[in-house]
């Protein structure tokens, strides 16, 4: 009997909970660190960006309406699913040039990052919200609300960096359209398989692979995107995107040179929150 043919994975996009190819039909060649062909990944177009934003918008109100407790459970579930695929992610990270121990450490850190942010889901309101003293018989509360649809240009750290920019966006009730790392897009699509099996509603996270310089400006200029995180955009692209984002007053987070293994702090979560203040008469 002849040797069994290998069954290789088609790396597609992740939009609205489904895995479509790019509407353009284009692909990009992804090589490993030694220059050997790994896969042809989908090369998203502006229309895929458009579709992803529509999916993210559709999912946003429902995701934000969930309790923080429930979002925390779901983020923790993502960590569990990622744990179950440890070996696969270690292999994919080794293809990008990491050593065995370093790859394993990065996967561990990524899983722990989900758990860390999961814990924040029902606590961020206590930290960023407040009960304000006012000169009248009213309770006055400030509570954090999600910004809405957030565009994310992911950094080149293909797993830990990606998780570190997605988790803080979605944990508070935003939905995300993410442009994955250009040199290392494959772990992003494998992460999408994790998200798709973790009770994350379709459309909460949408992952696009392709050229950043082609996709980021469409996200930045899109009038139905409320904020953009330019973590992975080089300086000139980030400047262009920030300018385009000003048109509808998007919140913009410019790249900060990051050591993704460091303690993330709450800055990324609070960058995509709005504050709502409500008055309520005392004694009613």
């Amino acid at each position: 009997m002849s040797e069994r043919l290998s069954v290789r994975k088609t790396y597609k996009l992740f939009i609205g909970g489904a895995f479509p190819r790019s509407e353009s039909g284009r692909t990009v060649i992804v090589n490993d660190a030694k220059g050997r062909l790994l896969a042809n990944a989908a090369r998203a177009s502006r229309k895929d960006v458009r579709d992803a934003v529509v999916a993210a918008r559709k999912a946003q109100s429902g995701w934000a309406a969930r309790t923080g407790y429930n979002r925390g459970q779901i983020l923790y579930r993502i960590a569990e699913m990622l744990e179950g695929r440890r070996g696969q992610f270690v292999e994919e990270l080794r293809d990008t040039g990491l050593g065995k121990a370093a790859a394993a450490a990065e996967v561990d850190a990524a899983i722990d990052r989900w758990v860390w942010y999961a814990g924040w889901a029902d606590k961020i309101a206590q930290v960023t919200g407040s009960a304000n003293a006012v000169s009248g018989p009213f309770f006055n509360f400030s509570t954090p609300e999600p910004t809405g649809v957030v565009g994310v240009v992911a950094p080149d750290s293909p797993l830990l960096g990606l998780v570190s920019v997605i988790a803080p966006v979605i944990v508070t009730g935003n939905t995300a359209v993410v442009v994955a790392s250009e040199p290392g897009p494959l772990p992003a699509i494998t992460l999408a398989e994790v998200l798709a099996t973790s009770d994350v509603p379709g459309g909460v996270v949408n992952l696009l692979t392709g050229h950043r310089a082609e996709l980021a400006p469409w996200l930045a200029s899109h009038q139905d995107v409320n904020a953009i995180d330019l973590a992975g955009a080089p300086d000139d692209l980030a400047a262009d995107c920030a300018r385009a984002a000003a048109d509808n007053l998007k919140r913009v987070r410019r790249p900060a040179a990051g050591d993704w293994t460091a303690d993330p702090g709450t800055a990324r979560m609070t960058a995509f929150l709005e504050t709502k203040t409500v008055w309520h008469p005392v004694g009613v």
Binding site: R57, W218, S221, H222, Q223
Partner: protein
Amino acid sequence: MPDLSTFAEAAISPAELRGFLRGLPPVDQVGAEERAARLATRSIKTSAKAYAIDLAISMVDLTTLEGADTPGKVRALCAKAAHPDPADASVPKVAAVCVYSDLVGEAAGALKGTGVGVASVATAFPSGRAPLDAKLADTRRAIDDGASEIDMVIDRGAFLAGDYQKVYDEIVAIKAECGDVHLKVILETGELVTYDNVRRASWLAMLAGADFIKTSTGKVSPAATLPVTLVMLEAVRDFRARTGRQIGVKPAGGIRTTKDAIKYLVLVNETAGPDWLSPDWFRLGASSLLNDLLMQRRKLTTGVYGGPDYFTLD
């Protein structure tokens, strides 16, 4: 086939009418669906798309047919019909506003001088289950209040029972009541079951004096579909070839995106011909479609994707 000129007298026997309608060639179902699907793959881009969007806007019958319609909602809809995008005066106005007959007065007042028509559904819309004198009174009231177009429903029950004459007589009676006012006849194709019936109902309505044939009320699923519209477009094309009289077509219900609207325009151009590419001969009954058309139009003019936040809700 009998000589069609005899039908113009409205004095044909039930047997003749029945024989004519039953004698119409049957529709090739698979062929019609394939043809509609094939035409739907045409790619319309850039300047052709801009033309198609403006044409589609000018063909929209902006519709609100809810039990919860208020005079305020109708006025808001009328304002939108006359100036679909208040920020851009180059956007054409829509063809008409379509409301229930009791709100015609409200719409006619709000639209005075704008050139936008007032269409009223009448004749016990959407079911059509009422005695003829009630239907006639409904129609008369709408016309008295200022309707420029009447959208009537046919009696599907009589049609399906094979009583074509009853359906025919009803359309003739309503048309007589309308006089010069445009009469659109709603076939409610979702209840006619087969394409053969759609073809028969189309001919029946045209013979009885309809100015437009319309697919559906929007209250029954499926509403307008491409193959059904294809069959109706073939009917108006063949009718003009035989009688010289041109009849309009209006698909309504379920047309929500610019892409859908452009598919219909392609279908019109390829089936009935470019003579029908005008709001006088083709309409799109819709409500949410207009916002999508405006959004696509702005994408073409500004180069960036818009969002629903920037257009009025209706």
